[in-house]
Subunit: 422 residues, 2 copies
């Protein structure tokens, strides 16, 4: 049996080829879930899967899964890898696609090396991970993990009013299989970091041991609009001021530099919105994240308290709406250790890292041991055509994925095995 | 000779009648400068002027001036009173109109008492005081006072693209007289406070001794947009945060409660404006006011310095644009004293007060001694259909105006005089 060797050139070529599917005349790449471009991208990937001898199945919410049974006993739970191929608007070519195509490269490398499997390997491209067209995000994997009923998901209307059911039918990906029909033994997802940490620290591999909890809220502050020139400061009920004080407090006391809690006020608007009118209304959103549930909940509490106190001092009232709340996810310690061991063996710098963004892996973690492998993102940029990871970095990540799959699906033993190499 | 008696009932009736000119089917009152409604309002007021025997003149920028020569020697500089009759959108009925119609009531009262004038009395309704349709505001009185050439003013395009020249011609108020053709001996303007101070303190009359300076600026802060979940706090360049910190600093250090400086951030927007994206750009405006020029300039300086420091700490750049800057105006001490004396004589509570808003009087102050008389605004509300001042309060203000005009135009002496009464 040979040491498996990854075909990095083909991986790169396929990333670029898939990256042209959905590229408009204006040069922008957009492959929204369930769109014609998404259909064409799925066809391309499914074609590669079939050419590699995988049995391709589409489930009822369009999740695309290719199974390499090989010599594995029927009924053995598969090792699952993959990610997603839908994109945001004006996207890069790596987000999600890297994990799916690297997964295919891993399977082909193991096949070429004559690997005898103890477990099948399943490669998944999950539906609507990005959440741009249909909400919520990670929709396909959420349903796959039993977190939402298929019928409920299929009835969701996208931003253009079309339901997921209609969209999948239109592109020929309304499948028969029940989501979750294959319960994985483990799930490993390779992905670009989409943040600046690995590049900033010069690290090659991120062993993702957890995924942050996320709290999204919106606030509406109501004071009193008034003339900017004739209203003494002492008689004002300035909703914009209270919003500003609360935002300053966030950085000072809740999410200081160097802490684990992240706080972002991405939207803020004042009404009536005239240069010489004290704002009677202010609206803003708050995105809070922390890998620790207790700290995340404490951050929400402390902000609510501070906001209430600031508002009272100015005669302003507060109305809070919760938009989303996901608890942190702890990935599987054993899988994380395997990732670190692989990196060490290959002399690749490695550190544990928290995923700041949501991923399909956080859904799969509900039904099996799961973990992620990160590679650096240049400038931390993602969701942007300038998204970039070098061929060397892509190859290193794929090698670590190969090691993980080989260890889980074809562990060393008398019946033949494969040791990740190349 | 009789003691002059104001006809308060007619004043009130005329206020209400003028308040119906430009009231739409939706019940909203709007009489923008140079509009058909403004034309109709002018016709109504000019008609009342002529009925009172005033010689009506329209100047080249549409200022409407009625002159009561009476027995005054030809060539004596007139005592000028008045205000404006154009309104904002969805306006109240008192702003500006009260000063013009009370001025007419004062003239009629002096006429009815057989007053022998030492000086003529001129009643003015200045064009485009509000600045809603044509900028800047106080346009007619600005030109009257020599602050802008008539041709320049006539060429100004309004918000609908029509020039002032075209608008005045369309309503028949493109006059022949040169603006400023009558140089006043003094100017007294009666107006609602448009702020909460007089009502808050239970004071009947405001002797307006100064008008605040005003500074309008806009700021554009540029940082870097980034993923809210994957960007550590230490690596952020959050333009929204810097804006918030600067706004909080304003209240804390530049315009605290109880001070003379007023600071208002009435507009604020973030880009790209998504819940999970760190705002790379923030834009906001700052309205600063103070009755003291040195303090106003210092406030501008201190804010600029603080903003620069806050921005540097976050890796954000600042671009500043000056939108408007008017120095404070000191009204005539002698006229202010007359107002206080009149209130005392009539046993009306009175206090000196700074005008927070701009008025035609600040332009007339450039060419003659000028002052203003304020009456309370309920709730401090103006530029709003809920604008209200009670009939008693309106009558008290008109009485103080009467005293002022009588003292200036028909001072006590051997040739006969009038002492304000009623």
């Amino acid at each position: 049996m040979n040491r498996p060797t990854l075909d990095d050139a083909t991986l790169l070529a396929r990333l670029r080829e898939l990256g042209e599917v959905g590229r408009g005349a204006d040069g922008r790449l957009t492959r929204l879930a369930g769109s014609a471009a998404d259909g064409a991208g799925r066809d391309l990937v499914a074609g590669w899967m079939r050419a590699a001898g995988l049995a391709v199945t589409i489930d009822a919410v369009g999740n695309l899964i290719g199974l390499w049974q090989g010599s594995a006993p029927v009924g053995a739970a598969p090792v699952m890898i993959g990610s997603h191929i839908d994109t945001v608007i004006d996207a890069g070519i790596y987000d999600g696609c890297y994990g799916v195509l690297a997964g295919l490269a891993v399977i082909e490398a193991l096949q070429a090396a004559g690997t005898r499997l103890a477990r099948p390997v399943a490669l998944a491209a999950f539906t609507n991970e990005e959440g741009v067209r249909f909400a919520p995000d990670m929709l396909g994997s959420l349903v796959y993990a039993g977190g939402m009923a298929p019928e409920e998901a299929l009835a969701i209307r996208g931003t253009d009013g079309v339901t997921l059911r209609e969209a999948l039918a239109a592109i020929g990906y309304a499948g028969e299989a029940a989501p979750g029909f294959l319960r994985p033994h483990a799930y490993l997802e390779l992905h670009i970091e989409q943040g600046p940490v690995l590049e900033h620290e010069g690290i090659a591999i991120g062993a993702v041991d957890r995924l942050q909890g996320i709290s999204w809220q919106s606030f509406r502050l109501s004071g009193e609009a008034n003339h900017a020139g004739t209203t003494p400061m002492a008689l004002r009920r300035d909703a914009g001021l209270v919003a500003a004080q609360a935002i300053a407090f966030l950085r000072e006391a809740i999410a200081p530099r160097g802490g684990t809690t992240l706080a972002t006020v991405g939207t803020l608007s004042l009404d009536p919105g005239a240069i010489n009118v004290i704002p009677g209304t202010a609206r803003f959103t708050l995105d809070l994240r922390d890998p620790d549930e207790a700290r995340l909940a404490a951050a929400e509490q402390r902000f609510a308290t501070a906001l209430r106190q600031l508002a009272e001092a100015e005669g302003v009232t507060v109305e809070t709406t919760r938009l989303a709340r996901f608890a942190p996810v702890l990935f599987d310690a054993g899988l994380v250790a395997r990732i670190e061991a692989s990196a060490a063996r290959r002399k690749l710098s490695c550190r544990r890292i928290t995923s700041g963004a949501g991923h399909d892996a956080q859904m799969l973690a509900r039904i099996c041991p799961a973990a992620m492998i990160f590679v650096p993102s240049q400038g931390g940029i993602s969701h942007n055509p300038r998204e970039f990871t070098s061929p060397r970095q892509l190859a290193d990540g794929a090698a670590v994925l190969l090691d993980g799959v080989a260890a889980l699906a074809a562990p060393p033993g008398p019946a033949g095995a494969a040791q990740g190499g190349s």
